[in-house]
């Protein structure tokens, strides 16, 4: 139902999310972000190309880290969202609080510009 893995590339950790992030699976996303932050990642990208669905449980996980990312100077960006997934972020205005790029390159340059 959900598959999450982290691909390290240089100083960037890319968390790839495949499948549905809902009330039953959001804990896995939470655990993965926690794991990556514990490894002291400073740049995290979220590959959402194969993210099929996200509910409030998944949005809640992202939201719960927004402040942590800011306080710990961790640069983040999401990319590859389908229209229906992006729409869920937009309904709550989270697209204003989290960077959402079209491609991985775009999200990478966003992170680099912030440094």
């Amino acid at each position: 139902m959900i598959e999450i893995k982290t691909i390290p590339e240089g100083d960037i950790s890319t968390i790839k999310i495949v499948g549905d992030v809902d009330a039953s699976s959001s804990i896995q996303l939470d655990n993965e972000i926690q794991k990556v932050t514990e490894q002291k990642a400073t740049k995290i990208l979220f590959d959402c190309e194969e993210l099929n669905y996200i509910s409030s449980a998944g949005l809640g996980v992202f939201m719960s880290y927004i402040q942590y990312f800011e306080e710990n100077d961790i640069k983040t960006g999401l990319f590859g969202l389908t229209d229906k997934v992006q729409n869920v972020f937009q309904i709550l205005g989270l697209d204003q609080l989290l960077y959402i790029g079209t491609t991985k390159e775009e999200a990478k340059s966003h992170i680099d510009e912030q440094l």
């Binding site: 809902d22 959001s26 939201m63 609080l97």
Partner: protein, 140 residues
């Protein structure tokens, strides 16, 4: 007027089945992918809330989802259960800022439902709770 029904045990694993049921039902009526997925999201949120908070994920208990499609009017979802009643309209949702500051993960599902649906009604009788959600949308 067309009526569709789906009954599932109160287990979080069943949320995907509910989404597939609502999605398949609505995609017969000429709605685009984003419209369908937005309505699926609202129903998923209400069902997740009931399964987790009213039924403590007890698979011996059930919720029932009913979809009523009326051409020229819109879609009415009716979610029925026998748990402790919970009226979404009484829920004072937190703001997004508050949630971020408190680093809370929950609490936004019902904000989404209220933003997506046009009308939400809640009725409770001695044993049955009914949450009815209406969306005016062009079904063909």
């Amino acid at each position: 007027m067309n009526n569709y029904n789906y009954k599932v045990p109160c287990s979080k694993d069943k949320l995907k089945e509910i989404r597939v049921f609502v999605s398949k039902t609505l995609s017969k009526y000429g709605l685009d992918e984003v419209e369908v997925s937005t309505l699926v999201l609202a129903i998923d949120e209400v069902c997740a809330n009931l399964i987790i908070h009213s039924h403590n994920c007890n698979p011996q208990e059930f919720i029932e989802v009913n979809v009523l499609v009326e051409r020229g009017k819109g879609v009415t979802f009716q979610i029925t259960d026998t748990g402790k009643g919970f009226d979404i309209n009484d829920y004072q949702e937190p703001t997004i800022d508050e949630l971020i500051k408190k680093q809370r993960k929950g609490g936004i599902g019902l904000i989404l439902v209220k933003k997506i649906m046009d009308r939400i009604e809640f009725k409770t009788s001695s044993k049955k709770n009914t949450c009815r959600l209406f969306k005016k949308i062009n079904v063909i």
